[in-house]
């Protein structure tokens, strides 16, 4: 193990993880950078069950480029096939051109994306807790995936089905419902020439 960081959850459990894993969180990174004498970082707003899931995510992402927030643009020096000496401009445009034409980069990105999609195939309660934790700890990729998980849950569902998933009430009056139908009447398109 390389250099490690100790994290204390809200319910008092201690997690010791490698720096590369913990530093996925910008908050943990900035707290560790401060020269505190403590080598333990307390996280009172995240309990152990959620923190354990968060760290599982961070462990997977520790040595990968941020595939979600940078839309799969892998700099050629991180390409698993090339040895990092590939010439080329370091602009993000040519990086995405590289990853779009490099099979190895593409496969690596796809594998990580698949893992992430499986990770958020969970109930919305967990997604809600992961979202709060990702927001609190400032972990961009996890926030992205929480949004992705919720979007996957919503996809293909009508308003009533979405209400049931999210445990929400229909608080529209009948007049408001009529107003909404009128507001979006431009969507009623029969596609007939």
């Amino acid at each position: 193990m390389g250099k490690t960081i100790k994290l204390i959850s809200g319910d008092g459990e201690m997690f010791e993880v490698e720096e590369a894993v913990a530093f996925q969180s910008n908050i943990i990174k900035s707290l560790a950078d401060e020269d505190n004498a403590d080598d333990c970082i307390p996280l009172p707003r995240v309990d152990s069950q959620i923190l354990s899931k968060v760290l599982e995510f961070c462990r997977k992402h520790a040595n990968s480029p941020s595939v979600h927030t940078k839309f799969a643009a892998i700099p050629s020096e991180l390409c698993p096939k090339h040895d990092g000496s590939a010439a080329g401009a370091s602009s993000s445009e040519s990086s995405s051109a590289h990853s779009e034409t490099c099979r190895a980069c593409y496969d690596a990105v796809m594998k990580l994306v698949q893992w992430d999609l499986e990770f958020v195939k969970v109930d919305l309660d967990l997604i809600h807790h992961l979202l709060k934790a990702a927001n609190y700890l400032d972990i961009e990729d996890l926030m992205f995936m929480a949004v992705e998980g919720a979007a996957n849950a919503i996809r293909g569902n009508n308003p009533e089905e979405i209400r049931k998933l999210f445990d929400l009430e229909n608080d529209f009056t009948p007049e408001e419902e009529k107003e909404i139908l009128k507001e979006y009447s431009w969507l009623d398109d029969p596609f007939e020439p």
Binding site: S94, D123, E148, A153, R155, I162, L168, P174, D189, F191
Partner: protein, 458 residues
Amino acid sequence: MSSGSPPQGRGRGEGEEEGASSSRPRFGRRRTDYPSSSRPRSADAVWPEHFVESVSIRVADEAARFEGRLAAAPAVVAMFQVCSTWRAVSRSEFLWQVLCRRIWSCRRRSLPSWREEYVRLHRTAANFRAGRSAYFSLLSPPTDDLPCCRLALSDRHLAAGFLDGSVRLFNVPAGRLLATFRADPHRDRLGRFSQAISGIVLLDNRLAFASQDGDVHVAELSAPREAPRRALVGNLMVDGTMVDFTGNARWWVGLFAGAPGHSWRVWDAAMELLIFVGGGLMDSAAVVGWHMLTDIMKPVVGRARILEQGVVVGCSTSSMEVLDLDGVTGTILNQRELRHGGALVESFDAGDGRVMVVDSRGVATVKEVPALTEVSRFPTLRRSERQHGSPSLEGCMNWGYALVCISRGVHVWDAITGEYLYVFRQRIGMATAMAASDRYVVAWANDTGLHLWDFGAL
């Protein structure tokens, strides 16, 4: 869709009536083992508004990706019908601005709000899908038999380039002729058609047009009566014939046939400076390239189209290549040999990060750029049409639709799925130039003149 549903599922009875407007908060039992001590029950505290906004953008993205862009709005509107808190998200101009950019690649607003802009984009796309347009005949064929060889569209203008080196500018959608630009009439000419227009770059405020002899002239659209300025001087004997010219605000790109190893010339459009010469795409067409100066009946040997990602794609009868502009200018990013008897270069066009071309068997393919991976494939000709030697057709493409003009009409396919959609009601004959934007389609046919279809009118 495969997320786990909450254990309570749909079995709960109380407070579940369809369309109920109860104001009684629901205190259901905890759904999982996860702690909920800090979980209040009002919707916006549980699911904050910025989260709902991010999720709605993602939902729209995914609907567009899997079902087409017209599916994005219905998917996101379903969310706005969930409850009043989620409906409030629909009032965010930022949300509609992001959706305009993400779903329609639209960065400029022509209407007072981004929400109205989205509605306009969606309705124009729906009109394209259904074939609903307003048609205008802009220019009947002139008596002096002057063919149009290039067309270009922008948000507010249409430019038509002719064999005599003139460019006519119209406004759209009205179709009124605004100006006619001509290059310097006293310059040297080699061959009857050396001044024929080989390409037009039409921007909001200026127009650059190139002729086969390699000259590039620039006209300022704010001063249409002023003579265009010659920005670049061609060198026909050294460079060969400029067979096509494309560009945007940042680059001008010329495709040349006649001088081996010098197929591409790239200029910085703002500085009007040459920044790259090279490439062999047109080497096999050198002889035909020279003949284009005296004989316009030669088939199209090469075409080039610039794409938003900062690359240009060139197509010859036998191959296609992707040239980098934004990264290391002049690098060949990708190359593909075109089999099956080669390509009908006059069918080649680009739109929204993709290119299309029809091969000599009449099969069209749409490919993603720069990887040149195939997106769709569809036949454009009937069997009887394929058997009559090399078919004659003209093609163009926009963000979602591929159009091919053959003698029996202008036919439209969904460029992503390859589904055949319809044929234009107007029979214009055989087009020799066509262009399509997100809103307009324009075509020139020698027998019937200049035609405009406006899909944003209705």
